[in-house]
């Protein structure tokens, strides 16, 4: 059984949803982001999303754009991100790791080689922001052969018939982009989520993670109950950015993010 499936089944038994924190690889440097990654499970991360820095993150708001820039300055490459996952797997064999990014670095790496190397490194799923269902054949067969889940995105603009089309061959879990907007800029209301989720569940039996605009413990708690998981990204990165001194990590960097993660996790578990 895949790590993603095992984790969601275990949480179901526990009777709660998942907390999925996000960090940008190499932000602000390789060592700090690896230290944070390794400490996240103990602070309450059930799954972890790692952002792969890209020069042109056209679906991201200012917070993640800045994080990507810091990551690139620190020398991030797709190969380097896989190295980071490999290192994480030395101490954690269970927490699912999902890479989130844009298509071009993967295209440049080579789709088949990437899927194989990613699984070898210990990656469980990938979210490719600018690869809709219509273009997914670029990776599908390679991902399937390697045992890598391609996580499907659905949005408030995805109408009912299209939901069925998009989720037909979905694997791992479904990522609901809960606002029409870029990351870190707005939030869906609880009522909006309660209206959207049943429609998605009609089209899939997979767990549904809710992301974009979740920043407070209360929002994380609500999303993890209405859906099956809450993704928190910009809010954690904002905290991390606030601890940096001239773009460099300080002794506050990792502890501040972990403290916030613990609060989020307490709300999701509470």
């Amino acid at each position: 059984m895949s790590r993603i499936k095992a984790r969601f089944e275990a949480l179901k038994t526990e009777g709660r949803g998942a907390l999925i924190p996000y960090l940008q690889a190499f932000d602000p440097d390789y060592e700090t982001s690896l230290e944070l990654l390794k400490a996240m499970p103990a602070a309450g991360a059930d799954l972890i999303e790692i952002g792969v820095p890209f020069s042109d993150p056209s679906a991201d708001g200012p917070t993640i754009q800045a994080a990507a820039l810091r990551g690139l300055k620190a020398g991030a490459t797709l190969g380097g991100v896989l190295e980071m996952v490999r290192s994480f797997r030395e101490t954690d064999a269970e927490t699912p790791i999902i890479l989130m990014g844009y298509l071009n670095p993967i295209d440049s790496y080579g789709p088949a080689e990437f899927c194989f190397d990613a699984v070898q490194a210990g990656v469980d799923g990938i979210i490719v922001v600018d690869m809709p269902t219509e273009e997914a054949d670029l990776l599908d067969a390679h991902a399937r052969a390697a045992g890598l889940d391609i996580i499907s995105l659905v949005a408030p603009t995805t109408a009912r018939t299209r939901l069925f089309h998009v989720l037909k061959d979905a694997s791992g879990f479904v990522y609901y982009v809960s606002i029409t907007g870029i990351t870190g800029t707005g939030s869906a209301s609880q009522a909006q989520l309660e209206e959207a989720l049943p429609k998605i569940r009609e089209a899939t039996d997979l767990p549904v993670a809710i992301g974009f605009g979740i920043s407070t413990p209360e929002q994380a708690r609500a999303a993890s109950r209405i859906g099956d998981a809450a993704v928190v990204a910009s809010a954690l990165i904002k905290t991390m950015a606030g601890t940096l001194s001239e773009g460099q990590a300080t002794e506050k960097t990792v502890p501040s993010v972990l403290k916030q993660l613990i609060e989020l996790s307490a709300a999701v578990r509470g």
């Binding site: 042109d56 679906a59 190969g79 295209d107 440049s108 269902t133 299209r162 029409t180």
Partner: protein, 408 residues
Amino acid sequence: MTTPSSSLSNSLRSGPDERGRFGVFGGRFVAETLMPLVLELEEAYRATQADPAFREELDYYYRDYVGRPSPLWFAKRLTEELGGAKVYLKREELNHTGSHKLNNVMGQILLARRMGKTRIVAETGAGQHGVATATVCALFGLKCVIYMGATDVERQKPNVFRMHLLGAEVKPVTAGAGTLKDAMNEAMRDWVANVADTYFLVGTVAGPHPYPEMVRDFQSIIGTEVKEQIVRAEGRLPDVIVAAIGGGSNAMGIFHPFLDDADVRLIGVEAAGLGLDSGKTAASISRGRSGVLHGNRTYLLQDKHGQIEEAHSISAGLDYPGIGPEHSWLNDIGRAEYVGVTDQEALDAFQLLTRTEGIIPALECAHGLAHVMKIAPEMPKDKIIVLNVSGRGDKDIFTVASHLGVNL
């Protein structure tokens, strides 16, 4: 307007396929949030293609508002100066707002109105597309937001002021190098955040399908007119057609009606910046490789890890690390040739056209002319070259002055 595949199956003009591809290039690489909008746009565009009233309306605006047809001018003194092939100029700089950009904008704004959209966003480099978009928004009373790289805001001040006068909001983009690529990212972010009322009016033959096809179709009025005009003037088709390439819309517009005329050489001129091998260039075909950006697969300037590189050109309108997907395909099948021209060569050409023909060209098409200056002298006097003069150069006089050491 081109009809989809059916009747033209043995033609190079039948692309793209139903997935929006020209060979391996093109496609629809957008976030799921935008995908339904892209599909809706295609459907709306197909409806206009099937509706003669749309074409009639567009022709009315082309004639009475844009000022079409634009003349095809025999450049006698330039021809004598170069001493070889006859050079004709397609006078797109005479269009309202001073460039070819309005051909596309006019078509898309009529489509946006049919779709019931009330807010228009666009990206701009030189500001010509921004000015054209702001112009039609003024004409139809629509809200207009233009994203422009901060660097370009600085080097294209007259156009920024024109957009303000026309009632548009100009948002400077400071991300990256603050040029066209960054403005494109920001316009896409705006679109994602305002899907209900907003129409994204793309300014060149790039972006997700159907933009490359649609923009090409609207710009093809250029080549269609040239075909008639050159036959009237010379009794035959030209030997060579030359156009400068930023995203590739003026080039695609003049090339497309000639794609099946195998004897007509098509040459696209990319901005080589400080030189093709200087590392400071905008020559995506000459120095890039296949990748995915801004909704389509095409040739891109990128590093070995797939990070997009900053382009460089003296001309803000050519300063883009990609190129429309149809050009990438035409390059790979060998139907069109793509060459590079440096900043300095473009500056020299700018001055030559001004002095021999009394036409101050935009720095963009000065790149095209610089290539004509290289090939015309080598060609016999009975050969014919058509150069697309895509815009007028008033907007560039500050840049040119500073390169000539003149303080305005």
